[in-house]
Amino acid sequence: MAPTPPPLSKRAVVDRYYLEHRAKVIDIAAFLDRVDRAQGDGADDFRRTALEACCRILTDGQPERARRVLELLSDHSTEPIAKSPMKGATGAVDLGAKGAR
């Protein structure tokens, strides 16, 4: 089956999903406020920097924002690493870390 446009109209998509995503934007704003209000270091945490870069993609007017956000948050190196440092993932790449990208 070939790709198809959404059956819903643009207006219907906004009507259906606007409040859900309005809330998510406010959550991001409140998260950044919470980091600002908190004590100690971490203001320059790479994950916060990455999140702010993602926000710029949202308003750049170009298509495929979801794909581009995911790529921005991805490790673009090509060689396997020597040993796993942990089992989990942080959700962004520390561009300041050795070997990143």
Partner: protein
């Protein structure tokens, strides 16, 4: 009616089987995975494989759900290659079990050399026995790189047909490369990480419904064993046809999994 082709029922309660059955689930496949801690002995995996091939099918059958499984040592426990190879050596004796579809969920976690070595050992086992493969791709920032490394590793095994390999947990940045190389792709509906039902339906609209399926990957973490029927509702509420809904949640998994010769619906 639907199939959940990736769900870790050993971590779920019997109530979940009942709720899934009430929502229309007729069959599942359960890949071997990480228990949240590293097993201390290969014998721990032997018992886990017994659970997947003997106990769990009986528990599912109580609710009219046909249970199938995939066997492996998960990439999260592949950093010790000696240990991992001992576990892999246990797998052939379970291949005669009628609910075993193939090798899975193998793949990469942090994209390390040891993980790649053990991925290759699993692929060799699958090629040797003519088995199908279910692949786990890494989480979050490691997914793009890991997906590329995995596809290259599979390509090194010429006896493995990409049409009998499903690469799971694809998102917007990995779905196209996976499909373009002839593999099947799975979208996992998972809170916070992976896809929401809304994004999964977006991906169907952008990339079509050929060689794509959806699954819950319900496990011991925050997850939803009813994620597939929720995605069905999302599709229907957007105006997609019942035929399309059935294709991604039933026909596609049935088509892929039937290649094993062992997949049955209840």
């Amino acid at each position: 009616m639907y199939i959940d082709p990736h769900v870790h029922m050993v971590s779920r309660t019997t109530d979940d089987y009942q709720r899934m059955a009430l929502a229309g689930c007729v069959a599942i496949t359960e890949p071997a995975f990480w228990a949240g801690y590293d097993r201390s002995t290969p014998q721990g995996f032997f018992d886990y494989f017994r659970q997947l091939t003997d106990f769990e099918p009986k528990r599912a059958a109580q609710y009219g759900i046909r249970h199938h499984t995939w066997l492996c040592i998960n990439p999260k426990e592949a950093e010790d290659p000696v240990f991992a190879r001992e576990v892999i050596a246990l797998i052939p004796q379970f291949l005669k079990c009628e609910n075993v579809l193939g090798i899975g969920e193998i793949g990469l976690n942090k994209n390390s050399r040891n993980e790649l070595e053990i991925l290759d050992a699993h692929l060799a086992l699958a090629a040797e026995h003519g088995l199908m493969v279910l692949v786990h791709t890494p989480h979050l920032e490691d997914k793009l790189k890991g997906t590329r490394l995995i596809m290259d590793a599979i390509r090194n095994h010429s006896r493995l047909d990409p049409g009998r390999v499903l690469i799971d947990h694809v998102e917007e940045h990995t779905v196209r490369p996976v499909l373009d190389r002839g593999f099947w792709a799975g979208m996992t509906l998972y809170p916070d990480t992976k896809c929401t039902p809304q994004r999964a339906v977006d991906i169907f609209e952008m990339h079509g419904t050929e060689r794509l399926w959806i699954n819950s990957a319900g496990d011991w973490g925050q997850s939803d064993p009813l994620a597939v029927p929720k995605a069905q509702i999302e599709m229907k509420s957007r105006g997609h046809t019942l035929e399309s809904v059935r294709k991604v949640s039933f026909d596609n998994p049935l088509k892929f999994l039937s290649q094993s010769g062992r997949f049955r619906i209840a």
